[in-house]
Amino acid sequence: MADVRDRTGHDDAPLSTAKDGERAQIVASELDGAKGDTLSGKTVTINRPRDELFAVWRDFSNLPKFLDNVISVEQLSDGRSHWTVRGPGERTVEWTSVVTQETPGELIAWTTEEGADVPNSGRIEFRDAPGGRGTWVTATVLYDPPASVVGKIVAKMFQREPAIQARRDLRRFKQFMETGEVATAARTRKQLDEENA
């Protein structure tokens, strides 16, 4: 997946915002190393320097602090890592992921290895925001939705649908980096534990 911007030359907007979702999917799934055909992309502006954000993200063991459904990420050798993630309903799903491209301070791209419960690939990009406003962080994820249409609806009900999740996780990353904590409206420890379960 070398580039997620539209190369067919219609305008300058990211492919993930195309009205023609089907065209976006076809273009995206033909990209190098793509796994899955549902495209989701989101950008947030984070009021912190690019290198700091990259460093925190690149240490994958940090990710469960703000990626809501990620239970654990175990770093293996050769840029590989093993992921345990909450799936629809009570299930957990697992995969081994390999970093396919890495430019310090700018970009991490990954794809899953054979046998993943939910094959996926994506990239997280860090760019200086215009006007000295910190960093633009863009997450682009291609994935196979959990099995059937029904699976996807169930997933949505449980808010485990990757597109929704990516958007919310980026907000949590922003909160974690800008404020040092992830916002919660829980009143009691018990409520917070239930939210995180």
Binding site: R168, Q175, T179, T184, A185, R187
Partner: protein, 397 residues
């Protein structure tokens, strides 16, 4: 602890619920000493605000004593603080511009979708004001958890009683921001719709900012009387044609600046209002907006309209033509409370601003449901209800 909880339209109760805990490093827990019922709470009471859930604890105007602090709180146990109703992080782009009510990080990530869909971008969190604004428990309770306690709360020096500073939490800065948004110039005449707490503080603030005349509009004689005490001229819209009166009272020019401090529950049998009410009672669609329409129509050419009043949804028959043709400016928004606190606390200590005139009733927390009913049914006499959880203890023999 005991807390005032929402259960539906005109149904609030005092329930026993679990005490709050410190959950994040920047949190603090307060023991509430005073907490007020706000005009905005009436919108919840009347069922106009969506995304409320049974059992939600209300209250966004409160102060108290710090009883517990998280690792990164800058407060100290025992300090008395007033808390802004807007929950803001202090470190995002908007906070750095002092646009606290637009904070990026005040809402939990999962609660941001509703506001993002409805408004385009999520706003800051608010205490005790529906799940669209975060679902945070409010302060009409014995205790409250305060996030970002190193940024929001202002410490009150010893010797200043609660009643003088409680309104720093919302309505005083709201009235002040409303007057600031009216961009008052020397010689100006400012018209203020609504003589509730927000309108009355707008009147005071407008004079402090140099307005030559303020004309206050309401239909409650007692509230108009309070406005008159601060030097305002008044219009009772039940007896007087407001637009005609404003034009006559300004020599045919119209007020230089108009402040709408009424909001989505405008009273009165005006044709547009009745239509709005029918629609508002059926779904979150059309707010009752008589006052803002009238403000735009009356405002002088090239004048300023300031709208502290809360609207939540969409409006019909917004006089966009008048607004454009006359070249008006409209400024509005939830108040950036944190920005105004130091200055307004000073103004209170120097006795430039009086806040205690407003309080008509002091009740215990257990009496809160009566307080809501009174404030709702008898707006003429009941100008502001302050709840004192301590009064409950005092009564135990």
């Amino acid at each position: 602890m005991r807390a005032l909880t929402w259960h539906g339209k005109h149904d609030v109760r005092v329930d026993t619920v679990d005490d709050p805990d410190i959950l994040n490093p920047r949190d603090a827990i307060l023991k509430i000493t005073s907490t007020a019922i706000c005009g905005s709470d009436l919108h919840l009471y009347d069922g106009y605000i969506p995304t409320m859930q049974a059992g939600d604890i209300l209250g966004h105007e409160f102060m108290g004593e710090v009883v517990e602090i998280g690792r990164d709180s800058t407060l100290q146990k025992g300090q008395r603080v007033v808390v802004p109703f807007t929950i803001a992080c202090g470190s995002c782009f908007h906070c750095s511009k002092h646009q606290y009510s637009a904070c990026d990080n005040g809402l939990p990530a999962d609660n941001q979708d509703i506001a993002q869909t409805l408004y385009g971008q999520p706003m800051s969190g608010l205490f005790g004001y529906s799940h669209m604004t975060g679902g945070y428990a409010g302060g009409q309770a014995e205790y409250v958890r305060v996030p970002f306690s190193d940024v929001g709360p202002i410490v009150i020096p010893d010797g200043i009683e609660d009643d003088k500073v409680l309104f720093l939490s919302d309505i005083l800065p709201t009235g002040w921001q409303a007057a600031e948004n009216a961009e008052i110039e020397p010689g100006d005449t400012v018209a203020v719709w609504g003589c509730g707490p927000v309108g009355l503080f707008s009147v005071q603030s407008a004079f402090l900012m140099g307005a030559e005349r303020v004309i206050a509009i309401d239909h409650f004689p007692h509230r108009l009387e309070l406005a008159r005490k601060f030097g305002a001229e008044t219009i009772n819209f039940e007896e007087t044609k407001t637009y005609e009166a404003l034009m006559e009272m300004t020599g045919g020019i119209g007020p230089d600046a108009c402040i709408d401090a009424v909001g989505l529950e405008a009273h009165g049998f005006f044709a547009d209002n009745v239509w709005d009410q029918i629609k508002a009672s059926t779904f979150l669609g059309t707010d009752r907006t008589h006052s803002i329409r009238q403000a735009i129509l009356a405002c002088r050419k090239g004048g300023r309209v300031s709208m502290p009043a809360v609207y939540g949804g969409f409006v019909d028959k917004f006089p966009l033509g008048a607004f454009m043709e006359k070249g008006l400016t409209l400024k509005t928004g939830q108040t950036h409370v944190q920005h105004y606190l130091p200055g307004l606390l000073n103004a209170i200590m120097e006795e430039k601003i009086d806040t205690t005139f407003l309080i008509s009733h002091r009740l215990s927390l257990e009496q809160a449901p009566d307080g809501y009913k009174m404030f709702h049914d008898k707006q003429n006499e009941v100008t502001k209800v302050v709840l004192k959880p301590g009064l409950d203890l005092a009564r135990v023999p």
